[in-house]
Structure formats: C-alpha cells, structure tokens
C-alpha cells in the first residue's frame, strides 16, 4: 500500500476525487439498467471497499472501480430478479470465517482503540513499517514491530475472554 492511503484525510481526499470522477459513469450505467440512485450508491461504496482492499495492484482507479461496480450491479440485478441472496464473485467477503460478534467489536472500538488503530494500519491499510513507526511515534521499526505483537496478544486475550464469557452465559 502506498502512502496516498496512509491517513484518514488522504483516504477521504482520494475517495472524494474518485467519487467525483467515477460515480457519474456508474450512476449512468445503473440508471440505464433500471436501478435507483440508492442502489447505485450502495454498489459504488462496495466497489470502493473492494478496490481499496486490492489497491496494491491497480494503477487505473477509474477503470478499475467502474469495472467492479458494473460486475456488482449485474450480480445484484440477477439476484433481485431471481429473489435470491447475493452470492460469490467479487462481493465483499464480509464473513468468510466465523463472524466476530458485535459485542467484541464494540469493546475493541472503545477499550482497545489504540491497539486496534495500530493493528488496522498494519494489517488492513498495509502501511510500510517505516510509515507505521513514524505515525504511531515509535523510534524504530523494531519497536513498532514489538508493539504490534504486544497489541495482537492483548486483542487476542480480549477475543478469548469475551468468547468464554459468552459461552458461560448461554450455557
């Protein structure tokens, strides 16, 4: 992942610019196919998420996002026509493993925010080690790496405790 995605501000600026340049084409396509503005927006948002998660390979964002959006629309259209739930292809894979419960997520968003931000920057935004250290105020990439594993340990403990607490509760 390159540095144009390294902060919230940079990402938002990127999405705003992509929205302006690419959404009209996607909206025109969806409108022509009989879809609504809301459907076009939902599809465009999903396309942006998919693009972001694969962004290391693509260099022409307009063509790439518009292409994903068209595929998503065709899939959506087919499913609506057949009254069937969304299936595979390029859909955002929300839950390919066991879903993490909302309770754990809510806890992590508050109590573990600092660690989650560090872990997200590394695993989800794929910031290079140097940028990661700089952004979170570590003196070296080694210190940042150790901090990352400490956070992983902490979050893993939370996941374990919360899962166990829940198991006790439902039994």
């Amino acid at each position: 992942m390159d540095d144009r995605f390294s902060t919230t501000e940079l990402r938002e600026a990127f999405f705003i610019s992509l929205y302006r340049s690419t959404f009209p084409a996607v909206a025109r396509y969806v409108a022509r196919m009989g879809g609504s503005l809301e459907e076009a927006q939902d599809i465009f948002q999903d396309a942006l998420v998919i693009y972001y998660e694969k962004a290391t390979v693509a260099d022409n964002e307009h063509a790439y996002v518009a292409g994903i959006a068209k595929r998503l629309w065709l899939q959506h259209y087919r499913n609506v026509a057949q009254h069937q739930p969304l299936n595979e292809l390029d859909r955002v894979e929300e839950q390919e493993e066991q879903p993490v419960t909302g309770r754990i997520m809510r806890y992590l968003e508050t109590a573990g925010k600092k660690c989650m931000d560090l872990l997200k920057a590394h695993y989800y935004d794929r910031l290079p080690a140097g940028s990661l250290a700089k952004r979170f105020g570590y003196t070296s990439t080694h210190t940042a790496t150790v901090a990352k594993y400490k956070c992983l340990e902490k979050v893993r403990t939370v996941v374990k405790e919360k899962s166990l607490a829940y198991a006790d509760f439902v039994e």
């Binding site: 919230t8 990402r11 938002e12 999405f15 705003i16 929205y19 302006r20 959404f23 009209p24 909206a27 025109r28 409108a31 609504s36 503005l37 076009a40 927006q41 948002q45 942006l48 998420v49 972001y52 955002v92 493993e97 066991q98 879903p99 993490v100 754990i104 997520m105 992590l108 968003e109 989650m116 872990l119 997200k120 695993y123 989800y124 935004d125 150790v146 594993y149 400490k150 992983l152 340990e153 979050v155 893993r156 996941v159 374990k160 899962s163």
Partner: protein, 83 residues
Amino acid sequence: MRTSLNKIKAIEEYLLGGSTPVFEANLILDPELAQEVALQRETYTAIRQYGRDQLRAEIAHAQKVVTGSPEFMRYITRLFKKG
C-alpha cells in the same frame, strides 16, 4: 522479544505466510497451540472488520461531501428520471 510474543509471531507466519512441517508437527503435539491458532485467526478477522467499518465510514463521509454539491446532484438525479 518475550517468548509469548515469539509464539504469536510464529502463529502469524503460519496463518499469513504458510505452513511448515515443523509447525504442523507442533500443532499435533500441542492441543493448546491449535487453540491459540484459532483465537489468533479470529483476532485477524476482528482487525479486518474494524478496518472495513472505518473505511465504510470514510467512504460515507466522502459521499456526503460530494453529494453536498447541488450542481453534482442535479446532474446525477437527472440520470434517474424516467422517460
């Protein structure tokens, strides 16, 4: 690094990098390790979910900024007018 952190690092290499015969053997010999692997997998899922939730919020904000322009929205809504 502490032993426990090195273990986390080894599990990460197994989950994100790929399995090795030594690790596979340890998994069979050590049931606790298998449990730790499962927990750590769930932890990565939580991190990805956290990242995705935040990304969606950022995208929603970007959409709000862009659709706040009446000129842009006039153009877009015209596309959805029937006939």
